[in-house]
């Protein structure tokens, strides 16, 4: 298994996407099918942007095994008050500034869910959120 770890800074939009781009490069080097890479990178990018847009700081850990890629995305931030609402397309709590930069359209969590096989959200309001994602590699 290959494990990749990243620290993510909240509010630093110029670096948003770095982790997902590194993961993409690694998956390419391992000959993982390009459509699976795309799913993983889209999900991870959304999760990464969530940290940047909403949280103070966070970490991403990606574990690549021959059968699946597991991702653990944890942040210290405001947490999610209503997960059902957050899962609705178009629902967003992002600030006006964040939206102006082209983020915060309310597609983050729904888009992540669409692109992975498993998604678990663990959130405590006022403390932070952790997202556990899994993408199976055997079905292209």
């Amino acid at each position: 298994m290959v494990t990749l770890k990243f620290n993510i800074e909240g509010g630093n939009f110029s670096k948003a996407g770095y982790a997902s781009s590194q993961v993409k490069k690694t998956l390419k080097q391992l000959n993982i099918h390009q459509s699976l890479i795309k799913n993983i990178v889209v999900a991870l990018y959304e999760a990464e942007v969530n940290i940047v847009a909403h949280a103070y700081k966070g970490t991403i850990q990606v574990d690549i095994a021959p059968t699946d890629v597991s991702m653990l995305v944890s942040d210290e931030g405001p947490g999610i008050e209503n997960i059902d609402l957050a899962m609705q397309e178009g629902f967003s709590t992002a600030s006006a500034e964040v939206r102006q930069m082209g983020f915060g359209a309310g597609m983050g969590l729904p888009n992540i869910k669409k692109n992975v096989d498993e998604m678990y959200i663990d959130t405590v309001v006022g403390k932070g959120t952790s997202l556990k994602l899994k993408k199976m590699l055997n079905n292209v």
Partner: protein
Amino acid sequence: MYSDQPFYHALIIDDQKCIRCTHCLKVCPTEAIRIVDGRVEIKEERCVDCGECVRACPQKAIGIDHDDLGLMNNFKYRVLLFPSVFFAQFPERLSEDQVYTALMELGFTHAYEVEQPITVLKELIRKTVKENTSPFPTISSFCPAIVRLIQSQYPSLTSYIAKVKAPHDLAAHYVLDNLSAQGIAPAEVGLFYVTPCVAKIAAVRKPVGETKSIISGVISPGELYNKVMAIIDDIEPADCSDFRKELTKEGIQWSLTHGETWWQNSKTMAADGIHNAIKMLERIENEEIENIDFLELRACDRSCAAGVLLPQNRFLTVQRLKSRARRFPSAEKKMQAEGNNPFEHLEFKVVTDEILPRPLQRFGPDIAKAITRMQRARSIMCHLPGIDCGACGAPTCQALAEDMANGEARMSDCIFIQQLWQKDGKVPPEKAFQRMEKKWGEKRFDPDCTKIGAKNESN
């Protein structure tokens, strides 16, 4: 579907001239070079023929697979095809006809600049861009090093490469058409192309997305330049304007940066220099760049004006081409005046077959094995110093770690690890030195005053 064609490479290492320094190793953008058992080795599946190693070699030890000029004697009609950047190598005091006549004096029966009639390529690119409804831009197929880079490192983008052949292919068809109109059979014609760079040679010898090349031979611009300059002052210029009657502003500047984009009316972008191209491809692959219809990427900084085989300075070449272009008509206006594109019938001849990806498999084809190997490489990296000195024969510590994980190198290749082992008494100094000599060649570490900077400045 992947391409199973091995890449042909035009680079030839001269082991006599090569002193095993690490210049080529360090500049290779795809980390394709290693030093093994006292020799430079090119990893065929990684090399994209960009020619950066040729530029960097202080010994001029990397040769090019050119054809002998004498090859033309096998043909009744000997046609020289050359890019406009080659014409721009000559001093501006020489007239167009002087240069053309000198080329004929060297034994050619015809001489054409390849960027004519460029309208065919312009229109074909326009059509391709229009037909592309995907969110990805159409990527120029002009620079063969970029096409190879995309095939091996950005396989998911290969389908966006324009299926358009190079100007030399266009010119070849144009010339053969012209000659057959004069009753000359193609079998009697030898087409010789002056290549500004390594990638173009590879593209001529083994075209991507074409079954067979139309060119009979590739000629070194350096050699031809010297031969022309040797006779040019005694040349009585003849009227050769017929050979360049389809030459236009656009054609002359086609091989410069923005050459394919500046006349396009859609949203375009151009980047030159292989490292800039890599950054751009990375961003395109990440879908970070939106609303671009056409992307021109060139491996050399200043595009073909910087062709590694050309004798003159790239900035001077750009300046000469630009000032020369002012004297020629615009292809756009010419087409408008003529009401249609008189060379439309050539269009289908410059469409390539599907360009297939050939993804680089760094750790082999099997995913489970690749993961194990990558993990091994990452563990090895804990022990390597991260100095990236190249003394192991690999360009970086990470490249060495990957080679080790693939069973192609050993821990003892690292000279710092060797030092550590010697300090700890694990390896006798004699043994450590033997290993170095094996890597870099016997007597490589004896004093040698012929090296540059010692008592000899020539190479």
